[in-house]
């Protein structure tokens, strides 16, 4: 038999959780503890050490106890009562020790005022009136200290009680609402007491105004932290018979004093900052306003976020009647906020602001602001209140937790989501409380030191590995909040149309429509129908859609046209729903679903392409899929697709099908901003050139097959205009010249006839409706225009240009670039036109005058009826034509001996001219900027509207869509036109000087 040796005292102390057992042991021997810690029982169950060890920080609690008792001994009979009480009353002991272990700041207070120990041991819940009466009494009879100090001391005495009840609760998150409400009541009481002091300081004049203090933010919502700025708004009315101005001067004085009384550091410390920044006009506005002035401001000027802030307004101090009048005046407006004009864009902006405004360095430690922080919960809840509180009065609570419960009860948030969110919110708040309580500092950051983390974990009841567990739990809650924050807004929308789980109350169709409107959907009823179609049923497909849609709705809502996005998504899903890879791709491929949603809601053009070719969704899965393919690769695929068909029509359709998917690829790259304007122009030109090449081959073969002839001639397609310049956009025609050169020995008549047949067939094949947007082939720039033959032989061109060539033809040829057909003919044709477009010696003065006159005449004649000269992309002032004519005139005059100018690209030639000093830097910049902007806007118009547009869109919604594609942000409307007109005006000024000559 062995008997266990009794545990040594130091070992026992260590086992109990003291981190410095030797020091603890020494402290336990301290004479200050006489009568409390009998040596033998110090490590026994129920003994002093064991009681201390239950606190968050046993070492700190022990040291605190010694200090408090020493101080008590020095102040008369205090120690006797305290020791006696602690010896016999376990509850009292638990409460006092819990405070000593959790808050160094409150230990310091007890050391300074040991007589306050009863505030902790005998703590009871107190109501707001009781708290107020106590603080007002304290400042009314401050004794030897200044009233501001008396306020601080009395405030902390009550704080002791709140902390004691909070800290001994089994579960800090369970008592959180009571704790937070008590803190708010205490803050309100302090404001009242401070006002009493301020009035006394001001003297009789104080009676000339009736000042009310309205709490906002967490104080207003009765959900305050231990230490936080107290947000307030001051409202005042003149007393009877006093002029308003005079009364407001006094009221401002009182308010200023009140703020200083609370925030100033005195020998007794400071309470907290009083923050009046939520008042009308913020920091620039007057500190105090009358009720009428507040109302006028909110009626006329207030922004949406200010109404969100008003949700929490609650009069807490000063003149109750004035406070009530204020709330009566502004409260109804809160619930009208969602009907305001800018509500939707404001809400979108607010959401972004919340997400953007986190200081990077602290983001990882932020309990309040970081992703998944408290602010996320509060923001979601308040937004839902604003949207639905208009129709449903049960939601009009100022407290986050109450509002959350009401939202859940009303079916506005899924019940499970609400429960998880509430638990996370309570836990995070409790965490924040414990962090702040330690030093009574206003902080929302997780501590970093091991010791602080350990104390924090223990304070939250985590006894095993407290430092690690608290961090782990914090991260888990954050993730949960983040996840729910993202779907809380969108998921219930599905519950309106599909049953998600049986316990859930369904969101009513009216509420769903209100929420969709708030998200920017213009046809909420239609959107609901699409959601229903996508999610109803028990299929696996519907189940996956129910997972996907909440988050996809958010992405749709980020864009200018969510309705179209959702509709297109529905069509594509109907088409592809059954294919095995489609939903898997969206669910599993990271950003594919996000890209799809943004693309569809941003661009009708891309949406329409995708509806025709849903399989292209696959491009979205990786970056490689969104890179435009080189011309050679596109051509190879078109050729092989066309080669598999015998019928020429079928062959060209096959090639055009490839063009369709490649157009989608380019559009997605463009929308995603991964390619520049020149790259876009090159990619679009590549597609056109490859299609022309393929079609030319198919047509030539078909003509030979039909007539039984051998090929008699070599054909060439020369790109003109934007096609020649490699600068095509979505809406561009293909401007071309057709050239042929009879093969050796062929009959010229027969060759001309064959070439004509081929060209006619080519134009017909491409002009037909097909899977891709039609490509209009326009040969209008050919010699003799519409009266001339569609195709000429090289010899005929040579003869024509030798005899007839006009300056405007030379100008058009500047951009001539062979794009399809026989390379030999291309070489010979190029050689022929070089001497015309870059005439040696440049232009004669008469020719320069001719070009200038032509342009001046065009300006007065060519603009279509009803078009606005200021905003027409092509022919308007400072538009594309102005820029191109400047460049082309320079090329005609100087390219013969400045080879750098010999390029078909407008921007390329402009840059070269600038380098050569032919155009001033300032003018070149103005011209290039306008050309780029007009081209980009024209492309963006096609992307957004699905059809080309000649001028800056004036219709608000189109303008907004175009502005977003341009990256100008939301609310572009008139700013877009303004922006364009400004850039074009500068280009016009440059044009007038450079082209017509100053």
């Amino acid at each position: 038999m062995s008997s266990r040796a009794p545990e040594s005292v130091p070992a026992g102390v260590a086992r109990l959780g003291f981190t410095d057992p030797a020091r603890a042991n020494a402290l336990l021997d301290d004479p200050a503890l006489d009568g409390l810690a009998g040596t033998p029982d110090r490590i026994d169950a129920g003994g002093l050490a064991e009681a201390l060890s239950r606190t968050a920080d046993p070492d700190g609690a022990l040291l605190g106890l010694v200090r408090v008792l020493e101080s008590a001994a020095a102040s008369g009979g205090v120690r006797g009562d305290l020791v006696d009480r602690l010896g016999r009353d376990a509850t009292a002991r638990r409460r006092l020790f819990a405070v000593l272990g959790a808050s160094g700041a409150l230990v310091d207070h007890l050391v300074a005022h040991p007589e306050h120990w009863r505030a902790a041991t005998d703590a009871v819940p107190r109501d707001a009136d009781d708290r107020r009466a106590a603080l007002v009494a304290a400042v009314g009879d401050p004794g030897p200290v200044p009233p501001a100090d008396a306020l601080r001391v009395a405030y902390r005495e009550q704080l002791l009680g709140i902390a004691a009840l909070d800290l001994v609760a089994d579960d800090a998150s369970r008592v959180l609402p009571e704790t937070a409400a008590a803190l708010a009541d205490l803050a309100a009481a302090a404001l009242e007491a401070a006002l009493v002091i301020a009035r006394a300081e001001v003297g009789e004049a104080a009676d000339t105004c009736r000042l009310a203090v309205v709490a906002m933010g967490k104080t207003g919502g009765r959900e305050l932290n231990y230490v936080s700025d107290v947000d307030v708004i001051f409202v005042a009315e003149p007393a009877d018979g006093v002029a308003e101005n005079a009364a407001l001067v006094v009221a401002t004085d009182l308010a200023t004093r009140l703020m200083r009384l609370c925030s100033a550091s005195t020998p007794a410390g400071s309470l907290w900052q009083v923050d009046p920044a939520l008042r009308p006009e913020g920091k620039n506005g007057p500190l105090v306003r009358t009720v009428a002035s507040h109302r006028a401001y909110y009626e006329r000027w207030a922004k949406t976020w200010e109404f969100q802030a008003l949700l929490k307004a609650r009069p807490v101090a000063g003149d109750a009647e004035v406070g009530a009048a204020y709330v009566d005046a502004v409260r109804p407006m809160v619930w009208q906020a969602s009907a305001r004009d800018n509500f939707v864009p404001d809400v979108q902006a607010m959401r972004r602001r919340v997400e953007d405004h986190i200081p990077k360095a602290e983001a990882e430690r932020q309990i309040k602001l970081g992703p998944g922080g408290l602010r996320d919960v509060e923001f979601s809840v308040q937004l839902l209140q604003l949207v639905h509180g208009r129709a449903d009065e049960t939601l009009r609570s100022a407290s986050t937790l109450e509002a959350l419960e009401a939202l859940s009860a009303g079916g506005y948030i899924g019940r499970d989501d609400a429960a998880v969110l509430e638990a996370a919110y309570r836990w995070l708040r409790a965490l924040e409380h414990r962090v702040q309580l330690s030093r009574l500092r206003r902080t929302h950051l997780m501590p970093t030191s091991e010791q602080d983390l350990r104390r924090l974990g223990r304070a939250l009841g985590l006894r095993r590995d407290p430092a690690d567990s608290v961090q782990e739990q914090w991260r888990a809650r954050r993730r949960e909040v983040r996840r729910l924050h993202e779907r809380i807004f969108y998921r219930p929308l599905l519950s309106a149309v599909a049953r998600l789980s049986d316990q859930d109350v369904r969101l009513s169709p009216e509420a769903a429509r209100a929420r969709l409107s708030a998200l920017g959907f213009r046809d909420p009823a239609g959107a609901l129908r699409h959601l229903e179609a996508l999610t109803s049923g028990v299929s696996r497909r519907a189940a996956i859609q129910r997972q996907l849609l909440p988050v996809m709705l958010q992405w749709f809502a980020d864009e200018a046209d969510p309705d179209t996005g959702l509709l297109a998504f529905r069509k594509i899903s109907d088409e592809l729903g059954a294919t095995h890879w489609y939903l898997r791709l969206l669910r599993d491929e990271g950003s594919a679903a996000e890209r799809l949603a943004h693309t569809l809601a941003r661009s009708r053009y891309a949406g329409a392409l995708l509806e025709q070719a849903p399989e292209c969704v696959q491009f979205l899965a990786d970056a490689e899929g969104m890179t435009p393919r080189p011309r050679a690769e596109v051509l190879r695929r078109m050729r092989s697709a066309a080669g598999r068909k015998d019928d020429p029509e079928a062959a060209v359709l096959a090639a055009r099908t490839i063009r369709r998917s490649e157009l989608f690829r380019v559009a997605v790259a463009d929308l995603g901003g991964t390619i520049t304007l020149p790259q876009l122009g090159a990619a679009m030109t590549d597609l056109t050139a490859a299609l022309l090449e393929t079609t030319l081959e198919v047509a030539h073969r078909a003509v030979c097959d039909r007539t039984g002839e051998e090929p008699l001639t070599a054909l060439l397609v020369v790109g003109m205009g934007r096609l020649g310049g490699g600068e095509q956009g979505y809406g561009s025609d293909a401007d071309v010249l057709f050239v042929h050169d009879p093969l050796p020995g062929a009959d010229e008549q027969a060759a001309q006839h064959q070439a004509m047949e081929v060209v006619k067939l080519l134009i017909a094949l491409l002009g037909r409706g097909g899977p891709d947007p039609r490509l209009d082939v326009d040969a209008g720039l050919r010699p003799e225009g519409k009266n001339g033959p569609l195709v000429r032989s090289l010899a005929s061109y040579r003869e024509y240009y030798a005899r007839w060539s006009l300056v405007w033809e030379a100008q058009a040829l500047l951009r001539a670039t062979p794009v399809a057909g026989d390379p030999g003919v291309a070489e010979r044709f190029t050689e022929l036109v070089d001497s015309i477009r870059w005439p040696s010696g440049g232009l004669t003065p008469a020719q320069v005058r001719e070009i200038r006159t032509l342009k001046a005449r065009m300006e007065s004649e060519r603009l279509p009826r009803g078009a606005d000269r200021k905003t027409h992309f092509k022919l308007g002032h400072g538009g594309l034509s102005d820029v191109e004519w400047v460049v082309q005139l320079l090329q005609l005059r100087w390219a013969h001996d400045r080879p750098e100018l010999r390029t078909a690209s407008t921007l390329g030639a402009l840059e070269a001219a600038q380098r050569l000093g032919l155009v001033s830097d300032e003018h070149a910049a103005a011209l290039a900027a306008s050309w780029r902007l007009a081209s980009t806007m024209r492309n963006a118009s096609v992307l957004f509207r699905g059809k080309p547009s000649d001028a800056v869109p004036t219709y608000d919604r189109d303008a907004d869509g175009v502005a977003r594609i341009l990256g100008l942000g939301t609310g572009g409307g008139q700013d877009l036109a303004e922006h364009y007109r400004r850039v074009a005006r500068r280009a016009r000024a440059a044009f007038e000087e450079e082209f017509y000559g100053a």
Binding site: K283, N284, A296, Q974, E978, R982
Partner: protein, 445 residues
């Protein structure tokens, strides 16, 4: 329906208003008015009143001419001259396009945008105009010289003078309409009078100027005389200006005030003046928008023709008035070029923008000019770096054409319309053969 709108509807009922005039201003500063019956007002608040903008100077191009006038209930006033029962009231309107966005052509919107920019920088803009005008005998016949109603001079007290009666009647009417008058007196020219309005934010001031002109014309009509705001009626007498005192406030404090600085003028104040001077030539076409305006500017006397500033220097473009030691809040600058026939919305917008630009860019304030600029020789002025204002409307237009500041402030639409309209006015003027030419050339050539 907000409370202000309710208040308007109630007042209309209580005061037995039969017509409501919706007022707005075209780009050239002419007051436009649409009358509606009270029954239509609720709809007007909700959706605006449609009108054809194509017939309003500078509003729209013909093919998209539908515009909406949305009354601003904060500007509701009963018009006193229509009699007290069964009367007429007016409200100023904001103009919008059918899709609900504010019209870029609405001068009120131009000023509101400039004020919003000031607000972004933390400023509110206050102005206080001194409006001069001539009272003439009615029934002027083209080809004859207009006749003033009296022959008094500056501050003269004219017994039984109809000027005094007139001013009393006009001021009473203005006060009835809630427009406070600070000061009024007989001006230097015969029949010339001045009435000063009280300090107010610039938008209210501009609204008040529009009302003021109407009231003055209306009262003159009642008294059988004719009132004119033409900048220069008589070659030999002073023209009519609208000197305007300006200040910026940051919250409740005057941003121009700095105790102990020269003239108590803060850095912000100095930079504001520097901005006004730097951009003075570009903004002239707006502040002095008529061919006739330049006859006043270059007519000598108290009209400033040079870009200078000074303390109590009445020949300077910008004057810093005497500082009253107990009134820190009253530190302000006075711009003296503006004439009474300007569009007050556009004028205040461009001047504010010029001043703000000075603050943004931190312009250095040139040296103060203490001399009477008129008495200096050309070489002296050149040596002192004193630049002139444009000599004519034509020159002003040319300078304004190159102004990014004015384009940005007016918005491209108004900028473009304004230039086109003014160019046309200049061409019309150039086509005239004037009395001067006939008198000088006909006898000898």
């Amino acid at each position: 329906m907000d409370r202000q709108q309710e208040f308007v509807l109630r007042t209309i009922e209580e005061r037995d208003i039969r017509f409501v005039r919706l007022w707005f201003t075209d780009v050239l500063g002419t007051l436009k008015s649409v009358a509606i019956a009270p029954a239509e007002l609720e709809g007007a608040f909700a959706e605006g009143i449609g009108f054809d903008g194509s017939s309003i100077e500078g509003f729209v191009r013909v093919y998209e001419s539908d515009m909406l006038a949305q009354p601003d209930p904060g500007t509701f006033q009963v018009l006193p001259w229509r009699g007290d029962t069964g009367g007429t009231a007016r409200m100023f309107c904001d103009i919008s396009t059918p899709d609900g966005s504010r019209s870029m052509a609405d001068p009120r919107n131009v000023l509101q945008r400039a004020l919003a920019k000031a607000a972004d920088m933390g400023f509110t803009f206050y102005t206080h105009p001194e409006i001069e005008f001539y009272l003439l005998k009615p029934g002027w016949v083209p080809g004859t010289a207009p006749e003033p109603i009296d022959t008094s001079g500056y501050f003269d007290h004219t017994p039984h003078g109809s000027s005094a009666d007139f001013r009393r009647a006009a001021i009473t009417m203005l006060e009835t309409m809630g427009i406070s008058v600070e000061f009024s007196h007989h001006e230097a020219g015969p029949g010339q009078n001045e009435i000063d309005l009280r300090y107010a934010d610039a938008l209210s001031t501009a609204d008040n100027v529009m009302t003021f002109r109407t009231v003055v014309k209306e009262v003159a009509l009642e008294q059988g005389i004719y009132a004119s705001f033409m900048p220069k009626v008589f070659a030999q007498h002073p023209g009519s200006g609208m000197h305007t005192h300006m200040s910026l406030f940051e919250g409740d404090t005057n941003a121009f005030h700095e105790p102990g600085a020269p003239y108590q003028l803060s850095k912000v104040g100095r930079q504001f003046i520097a901005g006004l001077l730097h951009h003075g030539a570009e903004t002239a076409a707006v502040t002095n928008q008529w061919v006739n305006s330049y006859k006043r500017l270059w007519g000598g006397g108290e009209a400033p023709a040079h870009l200078t500033w000074g303390h109590n220097n009445r020949s300077a473009l910008v004057r810093v008035p005497m500082y009253k030691p107990d009134k820190g809040q009253s530190t302000r600058v006075e711009v003296r070029s503006i004439d009474t026939a300007c569009n007050p919305y556009l004028t205040y917008a461009v001047l504010l923008a010029a001043g703000l630009k000075g603050i943004e860019e931190g312009y250095e304030l040139p040296q103060e000019t203490e001399d009477d600029v008129w008495s200096l020789t050309d070489s002296e002025r050149r040596a002192m770096g004193i630049r002139p204002l444009p000599a004519s409307l034509s020159e002003a237009i040319e300078i304004m054409e190159d102004s990014e500041l004015v384009a940005e402030t007016l918005g491209e639409h108004v900028f473009d319309f304004f230039l086109r309209n003014k160019r046309a006015e200049w061409l019309d003027y150039r086509n005239q053969v004037t009395a001067f030419e006939l008198e000088r050339y006909l006898p000898s050539l």
